[in-house]
């Protein structure tokens, strides 16, 4: 067994990452629901749900999410008459898979070297990880469109069309806002971008590309369908939007994928603008100097970096919750106006200014001249 592990360390570690990371993301959901409920309660001078107890232990209301899950699982399966028998079941999965899948390219710690093999702490090391992440994340629209269409309900269809147009509009700005960062770090590989943000805190993307960071965060809110951009739902005009006809576990999957896409978007913001797993002023080399480069030292280093990554993602997730309970939503025409007339020109302007500044500053640097071949 030990020999097998030693010989197939790459295979084993890849499998382990592919299993642990999705489970970790899914387990963020109950804590996010708890944070949302209690956080909103304390913001609104309430106490929030806290009374569910198991043997007298209340866990600050965490059991409520477990009770919710049990309710969802045991609920009756309702499929409306006229709903498409296959697509109706497929739609939640089509929304869930991109929400988890987009996380695959995100590095959550520096590479670890065990038994001479370099193991990237990143589920998939891809040549164009950023493109992959955005490509997969945009597939979520398919799930929403399919859910609306397969339900055979006018409210669902209208809701799904509205969310699809919202997500497609904001994807344009999303792609353009990250162009500035990509220009500066000269790479589409998330691990290279994170490595470039090592050391002092002002190397982080948010200080190099402040406009891009703010724009990306706002667009991220729209892509995750969070307030103030939660237009897919709207009780007064569309009932519950694309998931009007969904109940039980199928609804729970829509619910979970909303939170998981929040995690994914937070991870992307962290990677591009907040230094990824980098601890400010403490590089991997310095951590190795403190803990050593043997297996234990590398594990401690990775643990510190994963903690740093988780702290950044967690803060952004809190920001999502915090903004939701602060801001009122936009009207749909305001949303579209903001997307096309404000975000898109600002993103383009940011890109042009970044390109011009880089041309001036790095004109004489042979690495960034016209002959640069990457």
């Amino acid at each position: 067994m030990e020999d097998f592990l030693r010989q197939n360390i790459v295979l084993v570690s890849t499998l382990a990452k592919a299993i642990v990371v999705p489970i970790a993301i899914m387990n963020v959901v109950p804590f996010m629901v708890l944070l949302e409920r209690r956080g909103s309660a304390f913001i609104q001078d309430r106490r929030g749900p806290e009374r569910a107890s198991i043997f007298g232990i209340r866990m600050f209301g965490l059991w409520h999410t477990i009770a919710d899950a049990m309710k969802f699982i045991t609920k009756e399966k309702v499929v409306p008459a006229g709903a498409h028998p296959v697509f109706f079941y497929m739609a939640p999965a089509l929304l869930l898979i991109p929400a988890i899948g987009a996380f695959a390219g995100v590095p959550f710690a520096a590479d670890v070297t065990i038994a001479g093999e370099t193991i990237p702490l990143q589920v998939a090391r891809l040549d164009a990880g950023i493109l992959y992440a955005f490509g997969v994340a945009s597939l979520g629209v398919l799930g929403i469109a399919l859910a609306g269409w397969a339900s055979n309900n006018k409210f669902s269809l209208l809701g799904s069309l509205r969310s699809a147009s919202q997500m497609l509009s904001y994807e344009v700005s999303m792609g353009l806002t990250i162009m500035g960062v990509l220009l500066i770090y000269q790479s589409l590989r998330p691990e290279v971008i994170v490595q470039a943000q090592a050391g002092p805190i002002w190397k982080w993307g948010i200080f190099v590309q402040p406009v891009g960071a703010v724009l990306f965060l706002v667009v991220g809110f729209a892509e995750a369908n969070r307030l103030p951009f939660d237009l897919p739902e709207g009780d007064s005009e569309l009932v519950a939007g694309y998931h009007t006809e969904y109940s039980g576990m199928k609804f729970a999957i829509f619910f979970m994928s909303e939170y998981m896409s929040m995690v994914t978007i937070s991870a992307m913001v962290t990677t591009l603008f907040l230094g990824g797993w980098q601890i400010p002023f403490v590089t991997t080399e310095r951590l190795h100097g403190w803990f050593g480069t043997d297996v234990a030292g590398q594990a401690l280093t990775a643990l510190c970096q994963v903690t740093s990554f988780a702290a950044k993602v967690g803060s952004l997730l809190w920001l999502f919750v915090w903004v939701r309970w602060t801001q009122a939503r936009f009207r749909f025409d305001q949303l579209m106006k903001l997307g096309w007339r404000t975000m898109l020109p600002l993103a383009l302007l940011n890109l042009i200014v970044t390109a011009a500044v880089m041309l001036v500053i790095w004109k004489d640097d042979p690495r960034f001249g016209l002959g640069f071949t990457g």
Binding site: G39, F42, I43, D45, R46, R47, W322, V323, T326, Q327
Partner: protein, 150 residues
């Protein structure tokens, strides 16, 4: 709208400050929050004197019920929730007494007409008790002993 409102983000930051202040205040001063943890903590009932709570039957000085089973309350009751069966009273000066006096609390509308109707001041709704819930229908029909020993 001024520039700050047009830009939207400064106002958002201001709003976030307000919600954060509420959050921090509530987290650090949890005991001062307006919520009363109801079943654990009960608010003292500052009810007016005429607050109509659970009924009670009053007793005479010798402990027998004041009720003379005249049926006026049962007649006055718009919800038909009072059921009285009378029997002869052993006391010579009193004609009847209730053998059964049931109030179906599931039907009662707490109008207080029974109290108004009673000529002997035998029934009152001045207990101030408002927590009337149980797990079976049967236990919500209060009999004469329950009403006397409120």
């Amino acid at each position: 709208m001024g520039l700050s409102e047009d830009l939207y983000l400064p106002e958002t930051a201001k709003a976030l400050g307000i919600t954060l202040r509420h959050l921090v205040t509530n987290l650090t001063h949890q005991s001062e929050m307006p919520t009363i943890n109801y079943p654990d903590v009960k608010r003292p009932l500052n009810a007016p004197e005429r607050y109509r709570g659970r009924h009670r039957l009053l007793k005479r000085e010798d402990g027998t019920p004041r009720c003379v089973a005249c049926m006026l309350c049962a007649t006055a009751c718009p919800a038909v929730c009072i059921h009285i069966e009378a029997e002869e009273s052993p006391t010579k000066t009193i004609e009847k007494r209730p053998m059964k006096f049931d109030i179906d609390m599931l039907r009662c509308v707490f109008c207080g007409l029974c109290v108004e109707a009673c000529p002997c001041d035998a029934i009152r709704m001045d207990t101030g008790k408002y927590e009337l819930a149980d797990t079976s229908r049967k236990s919500m029909i209060f009999d004469i002993d329950t009403l006397l020993n409120h």
